[in-house]
């Protein structure tokens, strides 16, 4: 290359290449979402409308919130395999106590966030594998959900129903909510100084400790934030479905992990992206059912589509990363 045109190529060309690859990598989540949207628009142009988005992205808000919840634990190099059943538990509380006895409901939900904080402390102090602890906790949340609501039922509080059926002008509510969630979490985690510390606890824990920061505190904060967004996700879900079921959130564990990874997050090193996570969740929510319905793919294969999208995006990321080196 250089032999052919020695003078014309700038010296920083390899670095420029790497920067371009990094940019491409950063844009990958948005590109996959655009691809899914283009596919939907091509298959059914009428779906790309105010009404169509409201329908298609119906469940995107709870999925995005659960994905953000998962993103916080992943930022600290942990994994939460209980977020799905936790969302179900919150749903059951929302559809029963939060409506009939609001004070009790609020206390229980705050208490469950506290339980998450305690789990973070326990995992840090005893150096436990978070996978196993949260797998155990997934049984606890599921059991509690069944105890609260043995049979599907209950009803969402009216104020919650009103919020979730809000129809703002021009921009469909799910898209507006996604933008707000992404902006708020992006500011908190990426732009504040304590957000940097939180991500640092996943990037280089030893360095943070030497700099005098409490790793116990970062872990507690990360887990509490996971609990908080899990609660929001469960409430949003019930606001849409209007009634609850103990198993309602079970699929969210895998969806949330997939969403974080699709959005450019990594399992280790505190490398996560709130905007990417929300985009990843939207991609999954769109690809899971509307796209497949328009493509006349039977519902049997909806789960497989999630897996396939995950694999394709990861393969694309590997190709780009290879150029980055």
């Amino acid at each position: 290359m250089t032999a052919i045109a020695p003078g014309t190529l700038p010296k920083s060309s390899p670095r420029g290449n790497a920067a371009r690859a990094r940019l491409l990598r950063g844009l990958l989540p948005a590109l996959s979402l655009a691809l899914v949207l283009i596919a939907i628009a091509w298959l059914n142009p009428r779906a790309i409308s105010y009404f169509g988005f409201n329908l298609m992205l119906n469940l995107a808000i709870p999925i995005a919130l659960a994905t953000i919840a998962q993103m916080f634990v992943i930022a600290g190099n942990e994994l939460d395999l209980s977020i799905g059943t936790f969302v179900g538990f919150v749903g059951c509380v929302t559809a029963t106590w939060l409506r009939d006895a609001p004070l009790l409901g609020i206390a229980v939900l705050l208490g469950s966030i506290g339980a998450y904080a305690l789990l973070g402390a326990l995992i840090h102090l005893r150096n436990l594998p978070s996978i196993v602890v949260t797998l155990g906790m997934s049984f606890v949340w599921q059991g509690l959900a069944i105890l609260i609501l043995p049979k599907p039922g209950g009803k969402a509080p009216d104020w919650l129903l009103a919020i979730m059926s809000f129809k703002p002008p021009y921009v469909p509510f799910p898209i507006m909510a996604a933008l707000i969630i992404a902006a708020v979490v992006h500011f908190g985690l990426m732009r504040t100084s304590y957000g940097v510390i939180l991500r640092g606890s996943g990037g280089n824990a030893a360095a943070l400790r030497r700099a005098g920061w409490s790793l116990l505190k970062t872990k507690i904060v990360l887990f509490a934030l996971t609990g908080l967004f899990g609660v929001l996700s469960g409430m949003a879900l019930i606001g849409i479905t209007t009634s609850a079921d103990a198993n309602i959130g079970n699929g969210y564990t895998l969806l949330s992990i997939a969403g974080v990874i699709l959005g450019g997050g990594e399992f280790v090193g505190g490398r996560v992206s709130p905007i990417g996570a929300v985009i990843g969740a939207l991609t999954l929510a769109l690809a899971a059912s509307p796209l497949l319905t328009f493509m006349h793919i039977p519902p049997d294969w909806q789960v497989a589509a999630n897996g396939a999208i995950l694999i394709i995006v990861l393969a694309a990321r590997v190709l780009i990363s290879r150029r980055e080196r």
Partner: protein
């Protein structure tokens, strides 16, 4: 005295202690009634957890981040494949078992292919694979209610002197697995990779080949487990393997295998498997509701891991 102390230092002894304590509590509750039958039932059910537990143990021993999340989907698909191939006829039992084995091994091989080709963490690779396998299973097993051949069903339920034959065979298998782990090049390589993957590579261990074999082995064990489960419960279904995700990881950790890798323990898998099954029996005997049972199971697993914890590296 010293022998007692060395025995207590073995990490796996606690899982057996736990199993005995739970059994004694249940027998005390029933006033000594049904203690023997409980052991028989526990042995027959623990078998299924032990088989996948051993596979998961080899995978987890490979080091931090290695875990097979595709086991439930794998078990579900293999159970459907086995029942369909057997087609209810006794003459096809061996072919059906081989088909389940091949199906499971293929799943394991695909898992490793994804890990290797996409260079992604095993958790997300096995997760994506499990999404796809689950769909294949739903589509393939649609409306499938094929019963196992009578010979196979009675084989999986066969008991001699109150001891399930399947449990005896599994004991033989676990002894083989223990030998493979401690005395064979394959097992030693797995341990070496788990302790330090770079050092193992520098020492000439075929890291890629061993990891491939381990994931394939784990998949194959999941496959055979699916076939046996379908025989024991007289029919395959999509959800048959669901509880084995937590169970397979839990028995490995409770059994004294290090989650950080490089340290495995086969007897502990048996102890922990029996402990989990007996725990469930105990809660059922006490007559608690399904919700309370789930909560207590979860809390006890978290409690046991907290008590046994304190390992260095996480994930």
């Amino acid at each position: 005295m010293t022998s007692v102390r060395t025995a207590l230092e073995k990490p796996w002894i606690w899982s057996f202690v736990g199993a005995v304590v739970v059994w004694l509590a249940t027998v005390a509750f029933t006033g000594g009634y049904g203690g023997g039958g409980m052991v028989t039932a526990a042995l027959s059910l623990a078998v299924f957890t032990v088989i996948v537990g051993v596979g998961q143990m080899f995978v987890i021993t490979l080091g931090p981040g290695n875990v097979d999340l595709s086991l439930p989907a794998n078990i579900g698909l293999a159970s459907a494949v086995a029942m369909k191939v057997m087609g209810g006829s006794d003459s096809m039992i061996v072919v059906g078992l081989l088909a389940a084995l091949a199906c499971g091994a293929a799943t394991g091989a695909i898992n490793y292919l994804l890990i290797w080709a996409l260079r992604i963490p095993p958790i997300i690779a096995t997760l994506s694979a499990s999404f796809i396998i689950q769909s294949v299973d739903i589509s393939y097993g649609r409306g499938l209610q094929i019963k196992p051949p009578p010979g196979f069903a009675s084989f999986t339920n066969w008991q001699v002197l109150g001891i399930p034959v399947l449990a005896m065979l599994t004991v033989v298998f676990t002894i083989g697995a223990a030998l493979a782990l401690q005395r064979m090049i394959f097992g030693r390589s797995v341990l070496a990779i788990g302790q330090n993957i770079r050092a193992a590579w520098l020492a000439g261990v075929h890291v890629g080949r061993i990891r491939f074999l381990t994931y394939t082995l784990c998949g194959a064990l999941g496959g055979i487990d699916g076939a046996l489960l379908a025989g024991y419960f007289r029919g395959a279904n999509v959800d048959i393997g669901n509880e084995y995700l937590l169970a397979s990881i839990a028995v490995v950790v409770i059994g004294g295998t290090s989650v950080a890798g490089g340290k495995a323990n086969v007897p502990g898998v048996w102890g922990a498997g029996l402990f989990l099954v007996l725990l469930l029996t105990m809660l059922n005997t006490f007559g608690v509701s399904a919700g309370v049972r789930l909560v207590l199971t979860g809390l006890i697993i978290v409690g046991v891991i907290t008590a046994a914890g304190g390992e260095k590296a996480v994930r």
